[in-house]
Symmetry: C2
Subunit: 165 residues, 2 copies
C-alpha cells in the first residue's frame, strides 16, 4: 500500500506483485472534513487508513516522506496526518517504509526530477493503461497516482531494479 | 493538561484550578526509545498520553503549537508526534487547544519573548516554589515546565486575564 500524505486529501494506492507482474488493486483518496477540528480530522484519517489496511492486508505500507513544505503550517498539518497514518499501520502490525519524492521519481520514471506527467506515463506502462480510466476525476487520479507511485517504487526496489533506469 | 511536544522527549504537566488557586498536580516526560521504528515510537507516545488522560481525566489538553523548526526533518518528527497526541486526546473525547510559544510567554510571563528563566520564575510564582524541587533532574524540569506553562496559559486565558501583565 502506498500513501501520499497531503493536508486536505491524502492519496492511497494498492498494488499486487506477482513475479514480474504489477497490478493496481485499488486507489483513491482519504478525505476529511475541512471544517472539523484537528482531533476529529485525525480520528477520521486513522479510521479510513485502518479500514483500508483491514480490507487489503498489505505486506507493507510505503509512504512519501516530505522533507519540506512551502509553509511551516502546512508542514505541521501534513506531519500530524502522517504521524497518525504511521501509527495506524503500526497498530495493525504492518511495517512502514518511507521514500523521499526524488527517490520515487528516480525509481519509477528514471529521473529524480521527473514531473507529474512523466511519473503517470511510467505508472501506466507498468500498471496498465486502464489504471487512469478507473479514476472518476482528473484531480482524483493525480493524488492517487502519487500513492501508487510510492507503492510501486518499493516493489521495484525490493526486486532490486529501476524501471526505465 | 499541558503538552510540549519535542522530538525525543515530550513534556507534560497537569494543573488544577480552584477559584484563583492554581496547583501543579503532576508533570514529567513522555520518552520513547530512540532506536525504535517511527511506528513503535508513535504507538508508545499514544499509549503514554492515553494512560495520563485516563489517570487524570483533564477537562482539556493544551498543546504548544510549533510554527517552524530549525530543520524540516525535526519539524516532521515533531508534527508526527503531535498528530498522535491530538489523536489520543480526541479518542479520549477530550478537546485540544493549541497555543503559539509567543502567546504562552506573553500570558505567563507578560512578555512574548520571555526566556526560559523568566517563564520558570512566573510558573513558580503561580504554582508555588515547591514545583521546581519536585523534579528529579534539571533537564527533566526544563521540558516539563514548558508543558505546565501551556496548561497554565490556557487556565489564565479562560479566566480572562494575564498574570504579571
Amino acid at each position: 500500500m502506498g500513501i501520499d500524505p497531503g493536508t486536505a486529501t491524502t492519496g492511497f494506492g494498492l498494488i499486487r506483485v506477482s513475479g514480474n507482474k504489477f497490478e493496481a488493486l485499488d486507489f483513491g483518496l482519504i478525505e476529511t472534513d475541512k471544517n472539523g477540528t484537528t482531533g476529529k480530522r485525525l480520528e477520521n484519517i486513522f479510521g479510513q487508513v485502518t479500514s483500508i489496511l483491514k480490507k487489503f492486508s498489505p505486506d507493507i505500507v510505503a509512504i512519501e516522506k516530505l522533507f519540506f513544505a512551502t509553509n511551516a503550517k502546512t508542514a505541521m498539518a501534513v506531519g500530524q496526518a502522517q504521524g497518525v497514518m504511521i501509527f495506524a499501520a503500526s497498530r495493525s502490525k504492518i511495517d512502514v517504509v518511507e521514500y523521499a519524492p526524488g527517490t520515487i521519481k528516480k525509481i519509477i520514471a528514471g529521473d529524480g526530477r521527473a514531473d507529474k506527467i512523466m511519473v503517470q506515463r511510467a505508472l501506466r506502462k507498468v500498471l496498465g493503461a486502464k489504471v487512469r480510466s478507473k479514476a472518476k476525476k482528473r484531480t482524483h487520479f493525480d493524488n492517487a497516482a502519487d500513492a501508487l507511485a510510492v507503492a510501486l517504487c518499493h516493489a521495484i526496489k525490493l526486486k532490486g531494479g529501476e524501471k526505465n533506469g
